[in-house]
Structure formats: C-alpha cells, structure tokens
Symmetry: C2
Subunit: 163 residues, 2 copies
C-alpha cells in the first residue's frame, strides 16, 4: 500500500469512491446529487494537492491538502479524505492522515484545521484525536444528516510547529 501524488489517470477511480460517499450524504457538506464534473472540480481544485492510496494498481483512497484560506490565512492547512467502501479496516484513513500531516509540515503549514467534522462520524473524530487534533469548537446542528436529522459538527485543529 503506497501513497503517491494523483495523476490525471486516477480521476475516474477517485470519482468512483467520492461519488458514493457524496451520495451517502453523511460526511461531506456537498449536495447528494452533485455531478461527477462538480465533484472532480471540488476534489481537484487548483489550490489542492491530491494524493492517492494505491495497492497493486488499485486506488483505495484519496486525500487533498490545501490552504484553508488565502492571504493572511494561507499558513493553515485543510484536507479531505475518502476511502473506498469495502476497504475499511486496513487503516487506509489513518495512513493517509499521517501522510497528510507530514506533507503539511513539509509544505510549511503552521497548523491544520478541519472546518466541519460531522459529530456522528465517530471513527473520524476518534482518528483525528489520536493523531493530535483537538476539538476547538462545536457547531450546533449545522449538518443535516440523511437519517439522524440536524447533528452537530466539530471544528478540529492541530498545531504543526510546536514541539
């Protein structure tokens, strides 16, 4: 299992994974009926650095890393992660997350921030905490979950430069 920068030939594989996750509507604040073109524009936006997790030629997951804001906010990294359905339990998410934190440090980001971690996404919340992220804010009812209604989301943050 290796993590490498995405190339254009990875796009359909990334989209296959991402479209299923968008359609489930449980983790990303994107319309469940988002088009493939819009999903690609989101994941591979100009400011995003995109990586894939590959095993024997198959794409198992992907993540993007980008500045959370521009200008005076460009030293804070933001990222998004997707793992193929049926590939859970292989620690793909954790492997990509650790890789992204290393990358963020290498790219000179001073901290890393997730703006909207859906509270019902417990495995993600647990993983981010294990990796050093802290919940620095709770946003009440900001995410409309398809089966659980309005649920809270967390703002999660990690310093990358303090020892």
């Amino acid at each position: 299992m290796t993590i490498r920068p995405a190339i254009s030939q990875d796009r359909e594989s990334i989209l296959d994974i991402f479209m299923e996750i968008i359609a489930a509507g449980e983790t990303f604040a994107l319309p469940q009926n988002l088009s493939r073109a819009s999903a690609l524009a989101f994941w591979c936006a100009d400011e995003n650095t995109v990586f894939v997790c590959e095993e024997r030629g198959r794409i198992l997951g992907s993540y993007y890393l980008k500045p959370n804001h521009s200008g005076p906010g460009s030293h804070v990294a933001n990222a998004g992660y997707i793992v193929a359905d049926g590939e859970r339990g292989k620690h793909i998410g954790r492997t990509m997350a650790e890789h992204s934190i290393d990358q963020a440090r290498q790219l000179g980001f001073r901290s890393m921030q997730f703006n909207l971690v859906v509270s019902t996404n417990e495995s993600a919340v647990r993983l981010w905490r294990q990796l050093g992220f802290a919940i620095v804010g709770t946003l009440p009812g900001v995410f409309r979950h398809p089966s659980r209604g309005y649920v809270d989301a967390y703002l999660m943050f990690m310093d990358l430069i303090s020892p």
Copy 2:
C-alpha cells in the same frame, strides 16, 4: 440611509471600499494584492446575495449573505461586511448586520456562522456579541496580521430559530 439589494451599477463603489479593506489586510483572509476582478468574483459570487447601504446616492457599505456550505450544510448562513473608510461611527456595520440577520431568517436559514473573525478586530467581535453571536471556538494564530503577527480568530455562531 437605506439598505437595498446591490445592482450591477454598484460594483465599482463596492470595489472601491473592498479593495481598501483587502489592502489593509487586517480582517479578510484574502491576499492584500488581490486583483479587482478577483475581489469582485469573491464578493459577488453566484451563491451570494449582495446588499448595499446607501445614503443620498452614495454607497457607504455592503454585505453579502450566502450558505456557509452546500448540501447538508446549506441551512447555515454566512456573511461578510464592509464599511467605507471615513464612514465609521454611523452604525453602518450594525445596521447592515441587523438587516442581514433578518434576511437570513426570511430566507429560511436556521443559523448563522462566521468562520474567521480576527480577534484583533475588536469592534466587530463586540458588535457580533451584542447582536447575539457567541464565540464557539478560538483558532490559535490562524490569521497573519500585517503589524501584530499571528493572531487568533474566532468562530462565531448564532441560532436563528430558537425563541
């Protein structure tokens, strides 16, 4: 002093105000050297509803209102406000803020959120608190202030539907 929806003829006036605020670099997470075209694209993005504050034919300020996220996050409003330099003390910011909260309610938003209120922008923080916003998170050092270095920013939130 009236607040009304912006029309295309307001654009240069809005940009005159906005470009000065961007160049100061103290409140918006946008590059200080942002082009006028990019500033216009930011302020008048497709998803934004833009209003201006006008007095005797002069534009004194503007604000935009938009969904903070799409899909499952589209019931939360976000907004940005600018006031012309030299027009402070007329409560233009407060008047626009109150108008925007009313508008957000009318448009069916359930809450309103500011993602990055620079902590050194004390008058804004005070105003938002007076209007009912709470600081729900503090982001350490996420804003590079031109004279004060890395300063904190607040995540501010207001429920629009609770009595």
